[in-house]
Point group: C2
Chain length 190, copies 2
């Protein structure tokens, strides 16, 4: 049984190696540079090995995205925890969200604009994703008044997502991003 255990352990390590290599390559050169050949080279195995771990390139991106959900959840939790009051919490969480998107654009893309074969608005969604959304929801809760909390949170999320994607693709004036963020959060704080 021990031999099989070692094999499974090594296999799991290699799977992490693949995910890490994909994430690093995407973050340093963009997702277009993440090809199966390049990735195989990076992990020092041949291409077909990738397919023994993942169904295809999309599944690798999805795995990277799941890692990202944990990262952003941690960031949002820290931001909310360090805030003094409800309005400060919303500001902190919104700012942290925008900062995450700004600092880790490739990861953000995998999570929110590319990989689509992941369940989202459902109980089967990755726990880390549910937790990240939960942080947003808890930040919104004290300011929700009589609006439906879930819907209001989704709407705020949309606003944040729109801000970061349109800005990063050069469709909005970058220099006004802070003011837009402040404006958006203000509209959800009353």
């Amino acid at each position: 049984m021990s031999i099989q255990a070692r094999r499974e352990r090594e296999r799991a390590e290699r799977e992490r190696l693949i995910i890490t290599a994909a994430r690093e390559l995407a973050e340093s050169e963009g997702w277009d540079a993440v090809t199966t050949r390049r990735l195989a080279d990076e992990i020092e195995y041949s291409q077909p090995v990738l397919y023994s771990h993942f169904k295809g390139k999309d599944a690798i991106m999805a795995a990277v995205a799941v890692e990202g959900f944990a990262d952003i959840a941690a960031g949002l939790r820290a931001a909310r925890a360090s805030a003094a009051g409800p309005r400060q919490a919303l500001t902190a969480v919104g700012t942290a969200y925008a900062a995450f998107a700004e600092e880790r654009p490739a990861l953000y893309d995998a999570m929110f604009t590319r990989a689509v074969d992941l369940p989202f608005a459902s109980p089967e969604a990755p726990p880390a994703l549910r937790e990240a959304f939960g942080e947003l929801r808890e930040a919104v809760r004290p300011l929700a008044r009589d609006d439906d909390l879930e819907t209001l949170t989704e709407t705020l999320w949309s606003g944040l997502h729109g801000l970061v994607t349109l800005t990063r693709s050069g469709r909005l004036r970058r220099e006004a991003q802070e003011r837009r963020l402040a404006l958006l959060l203000d509209r959800f704080s009353r």
Copy 2:
């Protein structure tokens, strides 16, 4: 001089043919189906002809996007014109925006999530795009109060864009889209 005129006319017609074929193919089968080979087949010319009109596939998508700007601008203008008061105008314009994205997803993608080699937030942006944004701005103007109009409009746009993209990629509960839209517009109407 007349022969050359005819040639230029025919050339312009063929260029329109390419753009139309690309748009129709994208709308019916998605942008992944729009390959240069398929497009060449569709217009009954060989592949290199495409490159005598456009620098590459991205430029074709950009041309399709520019057509889309005119479409959405017309839609937003009609919506705003038919509204009774300022708040109704904002609702009408926001609803028209979401409807456009819903009904013409491929076109919307080309305009707002894919082709990036177009100038946006600048005087060199395509006139139709500036007009579309202008419609949003005029709908926002009466409700702007002391906020900077341009920035507020960009923020509303972000909200709309986030709503439609997250919903269409399955990241938000589709059945709550109307309520989210109402909520967003409400937050910009006070």
